[in-house]
Symmetry: D2
Subunit: 292 residues, 4 copies
């Protein structure tokens, strides 16, 4: 009953624990970052990785629920928290390429392109000594296959060859098993990414093995699988067990909250500013002045 | 178990029939319009109206599922079908006010404002003899309370007093109980409308009693209540009965399909052109030439 | 040679002075507001009003050129300056209606609708005691005749009757004679406004005489008449006098700077926040926290 | 007096002829394409190329003024005319990369990105036999340096290496010397392009020499240099000669018509469909059905 669709390592691990119990090769710890809860899942063995369906590596999940209470400093603290956790995964980069994956014409898939709007682009300013202390950042929004005719991974590979960044940061929309995590959670991992799909496709994977540089994935759950949603709501309501096979008819139908437009718009700024604070030696106030 | 949230008279009646059986004061008939299925529900008695939670009147539901196969003439046939059914509810108007309700900044709520973009506006051309055969149409997009400080119903009442239309056509987003009906169904009714809510609120109701003119409602389901969705998916999957009271925690969370942007964009044209064909003595080809 | 097209009283007066000399019934004074230059033109006699082609009243022009240097506090100071000057024209209003005139689908004409996005809407919150100290503000974006079939003035009159505001503030795009004033100038006046045209049209004028409440006009020059632009550039370049009649062919062709999109976007926030600071007892920091 | 800023070979040649007379190495001919006027300028000698400031090659200029009368078949004829002339420059390509240059956040600079929206993307469908007769087309919108940190030419070079197209078609905004040509003219040439500037910059030039494939430039004038505009308006008005040096103060200020948004939106479809008809074995009706 636990084969639910989720792109979050945290949820995959919760499901595992619920159904099978603890297993070797996975550890979790909880911590706090500027008032936001953080869970770190480390997958350190191959068998555990296969069982969870996630590559080995570190998965950091921030719980940004408190952001939505919109206290006066909510944006500053949320961006600072994302920045601090992200920085822990990036090994001292002097140049970075930030990639906004997804389709900017489909709201829940537009988080990548919208985050890109909030990334401080600096690579073209590097000849100016005034900017010498900054990390050289460039930004790419490769679009989706149906609108470009090119795999995002191809376009990214071409850009990496040109720009030679020390690190690639790729932002993408994820599926969660729970409506409550949609637009309240950010997952950071050092495991790379397969644009456009959770299904492994070696040719399209972007990671240290295929690109020769660290690839940091920044994922934001923006959709929920309709059948998974049904199972979870029913379980909470105390329903007797249901045969998930019977739900096949709804497989693949992804739903998203009604007010996703506003949520994506706000969260894009949180994540974009977080990336800026992770990459640049700037205070939050300095960043705001630069971004207008 | 049937207190599911739906704004569609067709679904309310289905639920009733499923749970209680046929009842007097409601009749339904099915017909075809240019290849699209049409169901007409007539609620002719007060008791039936109270039972269904819908005012007495005629509810015409078009099933536009075939539109999404995108055959070459899909748009023409769908708009023509909407136009023909809508015309059956409008008693020979020479002037009309079309109102696009909802929030244009929230995709599933933007169907009203987006339909308004496809309505042929003619009221200001009426002094020109070349347009003498046309119906005088004006368009209002009143916005939502949180962004204007004014009830949509107030703004509409003000406009009706100025424009003195023979008929008011109000387009709004609805909630369906079924994901399958989202963006595949259009409901037309002659019962008026209460902007912003299914809950009756006399001060805000727009209908013949409050405005003195016929008020035709055009509704498009674009969201589904999460708990209702769960119940329906589980029932299809053969789950034993669940206590709906246990689902309260999810009450009011509305979800929408991931690709709602494109669906709203396309359906807005279908509905807008349908309204044009209902109001104006134009062929589909003439309309397309005018709309560009 | 001075029949150049301008909606700015300041420019009309400059042209007059240049060509005819000082005249009775018009006084000007210059002052400073938070680092921005302010010119106040008072037209106090009917003959002077006719000569300038502007109604009698007070015209306050802010020179916001320094804003575009984007120093860290540029937005705060510019919004505060607009707010302070605007407040000097508003006689202690407890309720206000802010109207964004123009066409949001045409960039240089979209300043009104875009300013409306930055106005703090409060009228619907007034029953809540927490907001008792605020001015009750509602916002209307009436659209343009070609897209609604209704004169903006009609729609506004309808809303004024419903809302009964103490003051109407109407924001609109203007034509300047000089490219340098485009998006660097804001004109505030207590003379009312004629939506959509500088040409007087009694039926459509919005002012104290027609509405019974003060009507404050907020104008931002966003376009320049092509022929006027040519004359000015040539004069600066030392050209001999040209017969303006010969320029008729270009009459009415309005041009705008290439980067008008970004200019309108930024200036809308300056003006919108200025209106908020004029109407509400809020500090700039409190306003920013509320507007997100 | 003829050093006016223009990106159109036709205008450069007109200015030359006006001021200096006919010269060897340049020929022009006029023809008709589906009711639209076409002027072909051939620059066949190096000395002529230097004199005109344009590389040797063929420049085809279509006059689309009649399009704006919006007769019922205006779009079909205009797209067909662009398609036919463009096809004459493309040597039987089986694969093509179409590039939309410019900044989609600045209306007059957005013609490239907006044309890209109307290009039929097919490269990813080529494994399907149903599409075997089509040309494999991919689309790239590289963005601008300030928002990506990468030169458009770099990004394009990377994509060309990946996709190996038979031909590159690059769409960009141009400056005209005349307001009348703005959004009424399309220039096609086989000479390649230097993204972002008329100034030669060898590293950034995209042409057969640097890429090894034909590079077709599609240019649409959307802006006019303010000083050039002034000179032209004044000359028409019969002004005595003016020293152009005196206009330096306005050098580089580009202006655009007030209603540029709608003009760009419409013309993008004309040009995009024209590219589709040049590349694909489709009728106009078939194309419309595919593009929706």
């Amino acid at each position: 009953m636990w084969q639910r669709r989720t792109d979050l390592a945290l949820e995959a691990h919760e499901l595992w624990r619920q159904n099978v119990g603890e297993r070797p090769g996975v550890t979790t710890r909880e911590q706090d970052a500027f008032g936001y809860g953080v869970t770190v899942v480390e997958v350190s063995e191959n068998a555990a990785a296969r069982a969870l369906g996630k590559p080995m590596g570190t998965y950091i999940t921030l719980d940004l629920k408190p952001y939505w209470s919109h206290t006066e400093d909510a944006l500053e603290r949320a961006a600072t928290a994302v920045g601090a956790e992200l920085r822990s995964l990036i090994p001292g980069a002097k140049t970075a390429l930030v990639v906004g994956l997804g389709n900017d014409a489909m709201t829940p898939d537009a988080i990548g392109p919208q985050v890109a709007e909030h990334v401080l682009v600096t690579r073209h300013l590097m000849r100016d000594e005034a900017f010498a202390s900054l990390t050289a950042v460039s930004v790419l929004v490769p679009g989706v296959l149906g609108r470009t005719g090119m795999e995002a991974a191809e376009t990214i590979r071409g850009a990496v060859r040109m720009v030679h960044p020390d690190v690639l940061i790729a932002v993408d929309a994820l599926a969660s098993r729970s409506l409550e995590r949609v637009c309240t959670t950010v997952q950071l991992s050092d495991t790379g990414i397969v644009p456009g799909s959770g299904v492994g496709n070696r040719r399209r994977a972007l990671n240290r093995a295929t690109l020769g540089i660290p690839v940091i994935a920044v994922g934001v759950p923006t959709v929920v699988d309709a059948a998974t949603l049904a199972l979870d709501i029913l379980e909470e309501a105390g329903a007797e067990s249901v045969d998930p096979a019977a739900l096949k008819g709804h497989g693949g139908v992804m739903v998203t909250p009604r007010d996703i437009d506003a949520q994506i718009r706000e969260l894009s700024r949180v994540v974009g500013y977080g990336i800026d604070l992770a990459l640049q030696p700037l205070s939050y106030a300095e960043l705001c002045a630069l971004m207008g």
